[in-house]
Amino acid sequence: MMAATMAALSPVRPFFRFLILLSVLFGGDAEPLEEDAVLRLVELARAGDRAARQRLYRQHVQRVFRTVRGMLRSDAEAEDVTQDAMLTALTSLDRYSPRSGTRFAAWLTTIAVNTTRRRFRRKRPELTATGELPDVADPDSDLANDLDLARRRGALLQALAELEPREREVVSLRYGSDLNATEIAAQMGMEAANVRKILERARVRLGERIEAIAKNRGATA
């Protein structure tokens, strides 16, 4: 199976390696790829191409962190879950089948959500997210930007902490992983119509809370 895959890829591999190299050199790792390009990276990574595996990782790691951060109480927990989920995904690439109609990002999100749920089972979560500041300032940003980011982050985390766990999971999948209602429904074993209702309700509540928090801070400042 592996030999057949490698044989099928052999004429195109140098070309894609060249594309990957160009992309890394010009900062293309951060640019989101089309699904076809992601699938080619998956094939290359399965065939043992380390550069492809790294590119695949860099394409998705932030999305995974954003998603699980919305569900967990701290950055440290999100870091652990992201690490575990990325490791599980990269060592189980053979299990991913695009024929089932699942996008790679959705498959990866399933792994991340399952890892998060395992963590919830082990330890009772405390819904007291208050928007801690980033542990170390980003060397590329200035103080004003850091403060603004920390404020927005704090408001979002505080608003998220007030949602029901199921609502938090749904909005994290929507806004963290950019999944649509059908993909979220498949993930959570619910009807898509039900997901849309929860999303709409949670979006309104989130918006109201974030605006109220921003007003309060403006009044106290």
Binding site: R53, Q54, Y57, R58, V61, Q62, F65, R66, R69, G70, D75, A78, E79, T82, Q83, M86, L87, L90, T91, P134, D135, V136, A137, D138, P139, D140, L149, R152, R153, L156, L157, V171, Y175, G176, D178, R203, L206, G207, I210, E211
Partner: protein, 79 residues
Amino acid sequence: MTDTEIMNLWSALEPTTRRRARIEDRVFEWLDASETSIAAEWLALLKVEPLTAFAYATVGAVALILLTPIGWIAGFLLR
């Protein structure tokens, strides 16, 4: 707030550069370690710490040689 506004706001949850680097280091260190054979690990240790590698190998060999008679004597005494 609109869907797009919340989507933009969500980007504030992204990890810091340092945190991202830390996750990447751990993931790829683990992957590299899992793909390195024990023989290659021993060779690397031999290059970096020849004396330690030799000591580990000696202790391992002695333990293997002594394990069977010690187990046999212990079993005999416990009867």
